[in-house]
Symmetry: C2
Subunit: 197 residues, 2 copies
Amino acid sequence: MPDPDLQRSRYESLTRSVRRLIDVTIRSDADLEAVARANRLVDEAVAELSTQLNPGSFGVRTSPDGDNLAWGNVVMGLRNAIAPPVEVITDPTGRAHADVVLGAAYEGPPGLVHGGVCALLLDHVLSAVAHRPDQPAVTGTLSVRFLRPTRLGGLRVEAWTDRHDGAKTFAQGHIVDPDGTPTVVAEAVFIRPRTAG
Amino acid sequence: MPDPDLQRSRYESLTRSVRRLIDVTIRSDADLEAVARANRLVDEAVAELSTQLNPGSFGVRTSPDGDNLAWGNVVMGLRNAIAPPVEVITDPTGRAHADVVLGAAYEGPPGLVHGGVCALLLDHVLSAVAHRPDQPAVTGTLSVRFLRPTRLGGLRVEAWTDRHDGAKTFAQGHIVDPDGTPTVVAEAVFIRPRTAG
């Protein structure tokens, strides 16, 4: 078994490099010969990693310390280069927030974050306030209202619980720009499946 | 100026390779020396592409033929490795659909598509039925209801116009699994800003 800390740091470093690669693949103005050379290097990297491949997705694995590792998650995964990544901080009152910087790779309209990416981030952070240890909640509905354009760059996503009603948790949240102005607001209903005991 | 067709094919090939790299970065079980070698190759590829970089995002550029190129778009961009990519087909009646295959990189719960990714895809395909040439619509609200888990793999996203009311277009849509069963349904209101004339 490889050393877990070394494994984490090697994959974290690789994923950071792949995130930079995604960004410069969009923003490069290099000549087409350089693009072809980059392509060959990427294909070599794919071959190095593909000598042994997990046939399925990453799922959620357990570390030697018993932690849940969602390294493949599209929003927060340490090994998922699509993930900005988003680190959700929850405080004792149950509020959650995440600071995130979105570059060229998250663009919809020119210079703006894709509206669906706003929905993706809100879904993720709102669900964090509904989850309880050993009692995961599933999203029932998500409603998003777009108040104004969300510019690429630094953003904060915030969420809080509005109320509980039986197995349902009603959560609210928003995305705020660097001036603190909300650009998108959201409401979601989460359902906590009944468990024995 | 480079040949536009060559430019398109070089970038399309590079982006496909980066998509494979994202996938195997998640699924690799190779030894950590191979991971380190892959990391160095990725860094070399980043350096090749970074000799000349566009300072901003890609935006929407115009091809020599006058076509709009949204190559940076996070859902459909030819140069965006985050994009599956989604190609939306609209028919003469105004319905739209997209067939997409989502691999390990779009995971939320184990083996399932992240709920926020479902919202992202629905936002994108629903907006396609609201847009008219030279009269783009902006999303006002998006509401998504999760009926059942959406498994990673092949999916179809469909959207249609429910009704128009002044500057507003009400669109509906869903994601269906390979059996044709809807897993997520959505409604959205799009607003077409008034234009002179």
